[in-house]
């Protein structure tokens, strides 16, 4: 299986690294993070506010199928087009705390690019909690995969 997205979460560290190579020119990759209407399309979220500048802020809101709303917000510390975004991230009303995110955009070839997201959490425990969240939510989906693994072990 091809693994385009890589997660690096070392034991006992309060940070997390997500890397992904895209079949897209650098400018298009960056645009996907810079323009509100595009963010809405791929993140499936509403962009309530997005100020792409130093000391600017953003707020996104996602609604689940049951109608529950989830808010995300942060402050932008650095916005260098086609290079780097440094911002804070907070998933509102959760115990995960505020995270610092450093997003680096790199050109690989004329048609491919790479994104590295370095996230720093308040503590190791908070990072681990965040890592476990999709498992808790997608438990059935994960179960099917686990069943496959278990079957292979037999």
């Amino acid at each position: 299986m091809e693994r385009k997205t890589k997660i690096n979460a070392e034991d006992g560290k309060q940070e997390l690294m997500i890397t992904r190579e895209f079949d897209l020119p650098l400018e298009l990759l960056f645009k996907a993070y810079a323009e509100a209407d595009i963010i809405e399309q791929w993140m499936g979220t509403k962009v309530l506010k997005l100020e792409n500048k130093k000391h600017g802020s953003y707020r996104f809101e996602t609604t689940d199928p049951k109608g529950n709303k989830y808010g995300f917000n942060g402050v932008i510390h650095e916005f260098s087009p086609n290079q780097k975004i440094t911002r804070t991230f907070e998933f509102e009303n959760t115990p995960f705390g505020v995270q610092l995110e450093v997003l680096e955009f790199e050109k690989l070839t004329d048609d491919t690019s790479k994104l590295t997201i370095h996230t720093i959490f308040e503590s190791v425990a908070k990072r681990d909690q965040m890592l476990q969240m999709p498992f808790a939510q997608g438990i059935n989906m994960a179960h099917n995969r686990l069943q496959e693994i278990v079957n292979k072990l037999k």
Partner: protein, 107 residues
Amino acid sequence: MNLRRDVFQAIADPTRRAILLLVASQSLTAGAIAANFDTARPTVSKHLAILTECDLLEQEYNGREVYYHVNPKKMKELADFIEAFRKLWDDRFNKLESVMKKYKSKK
């Protein structure tokens, strides 16, 4: 027969996964855990024994009570916790890629 079960087998069972989630945030006694399930108490005890046996749960003694809590170290060995997280981002990035490819061709 290998009595020592591996962690994947341990979490392949939905009740055991539910137990893990239950004690993820707080230590609980077997009784308090069992109260959350319709299953018979001995069945819950069996699940707790399996989870403890493969180190996913740890017991701590407080007076006469035995509390169960998750062993975060072992939990992390469960690549699938990270795998679910990775999958979430992979899906999200795949979406980004397809949205931008359409965007490009519109121009």
